[in-house]
Symmetry: C2
Subunit: 334 residues, 2 copies
């Protein structure tokens, strides 16, 4: 079985976006407009896109969350974020219910600049305990590009991290859109958010305090595997434990869109800490003229790693996901 | 000959740091304290460190600039930055005069948040025309971690970019320290600054407007070579020219501190756009227990790239530097 641990409902019907625009415009006032999306519209938008791609690419199931760029936690106030989060998590849950074999729900948190991370716990508990969500996306920068909130490794975040650990739902560290004109969203802010998080893990002690916390760094870990020597050296210079010790807690996905990148990822990080993922349909939507395949069709890259064993592919495609996401077992018969 | 295009005077006598601390404390008032550093102190601090490392590692000459982390453009106001820039550029010039065979000067610019990039031109022209500096470091984020200034590709920066092009001094894009507690300096802010810049080059047209501008992205290009497929795909999705076209203007250094990273860099970017560099003495100062060598001893990594030809090594170690930095020729007889 091939489990894609990183997919987003980026193809939702356009009325979702229109509703969101009106909601943002109304921020600070009461916004009670109902959003209507039919089951047929969900079937159509998923069936012709993500589901079709799954079938075409030979993958089996995706962990599916609201659009990461669309989390946009900086808009409005905390009430804006809570209302929006309810809408999109509901929608992802409906996708799961319509395609229970193919899409397993992962939630967005109702984060907001200035709001305590504690306030995200209610939504987390509800989705996990009542609706069977298996993981969450955690935005390390709810300002969406200015990074003026406390770091996710700071004490303010601990109650949320503690709950994530207790519920056994891995957190994918995933920034959202960039409202900072210096940062392109998917090309700069996304990748940089990954790198920032890893460096915060080096300088903090969160895995001492939360030894069972599982963190997934998407987009192949940002810049981290490419600069693995730099991080090993920085940790050593600072008198921190070897970064290899973090590999009991930190995992990297395969959203790296060329063969040589995946080769390095597998070689440097090792198959035990890599989770198959495509981010489909997401940051890069075109076909690579060099290969004739979609850039984000990442399975052939994994298959193509020189010398990769079937055992390692089994870990990357399936076994690691079952280990890192314990709640997946309720859905998958493997 | 082996030319290291990325070195900093990070070992300056401690009175420089002490002077700087007092200058920062005095920001906004007149600060006229003289800084005294003798030639012997410069000889000692360079001779036992960077020069010794050059000799030990078998490299010949370094392009040498003030400490990048120390630029710290956000402190005080523009006058603070101008005064500090004068001090450190003077010092680098003295290093060059004392070791003319080994260190070629590269300048810091007197950037400051809110100050026009235009105001950096006088220092640039003086150092290049009167003192023979061959390149400059350009900080894309003078706020040092908040990125609230206009992007370096925006019109505000054009007069400075135009002058850099006209003088034929390549600009190394190099952020400084991070005053944002979210960002570790050398582990996150440095690498992210590199990635941000490359993405800005994709979305802007600066190489259409400045076709002879030469940009060096340090630290192996941040996350860029590892995510080369992502950048190719994003550019294609946006209808931008293939990113390979930027390789007439953009070069990457070899400050990647492990073999597999350098392997990927050479394979993905190709020898024509890679410049040998170590960043010595800089971000990582320890010895890698795996190799028994300093992490930042990057020459063995280049030598160790599987299948690398002597011709490609010649480009990376020497020829590309002479091509990209035309003003180097006045110093080097090759």
């Amino acid at each position: 079985m091939i489990i894609d641990i990183h997919g987003h409902y980026t193809t939702a019907p356009t009325q979702l976006r229109d509703w969101r625009l009106r909601q943002i415009e109304s921020a600070g006032t009461s916004f009670t407009e109902q959003l209507t999306i039919t089951d047929d519209e969900i079937r159509e938008t998923v069936g012709t896109k993500q589901l079709k791609n799954q079938q075409d690419r030979g993958t089996d199931v995706a962990l599916f969350s609201p659009t990461a760029g669309g989390m946009a936690h900086h808009y409005g106030d905390e009430q804006t974020s809570i209302q929006w989060t309810t809408i999109v998590n509901d929608l992802v849950y409906r996708v799961h219910k319509l395609f229970p074999e193919n899409f397993i729900p992962v939630l967005q948190l109702p984060q907001s600049p200035g709001a305590s991370p504690l306030n995200s716990i209610a939504e987390l508990e509800f989705r996990v305990k009542e609706q069977g969500f298996v993981a969450c996306n955690l935005n390390p920068d709810p300002t969406d590009g200015y990074w003026t909130e406390p770091a996710m490794t700071s004490k303010e975040w601990w109650p949320l991290l503690e709950k994530i650990e207790e519920l056994e739902v891995p957190a994918m560290i995933h920034v959202s859109m960039s409202c900072n004109p210096q940062f392109h969203g998917t090309g700069a802010h996304y990748i940089n958010g990954d790198t920032v998080a890893f460096m915060q893990f080096i300088t903090s002690q969160i895995f001492k305090d939360f030894p069972n916390l599982k963190i997934v760094i998407p987009h192949g870990g940002g810049a981290v595997p490419y600069h693995w020597g730099r991080y090993r050296g920085i940790a050593q210079d600072m008198g921190k434990p070897p970064i290899e010790e973090m590999l009991s807690n930190v995992y990297f996905d395969t959203c790296v869109y060329h063969q040589r990148g995946i080769d390095l990822l597998v070689d440097v990080i090792g198959a035990d800490n890599i989770l198959f993922a495509s981010e489909m349909i997401g940051a890069v939507r075109g076909i690579d003229q060099n290969s004739g395949r979609y850039f984000d069709d990442t399975k052939p890259y994994v298959d193509g790693v020189p010398g990769i064993t079937e055992a390692d592919k089994q870990k990357i495609f399936q076994d690691n996901a079952l280990k890192v996401y314990p709640r997946l077992k309720q859905y998958l018969k493997v």
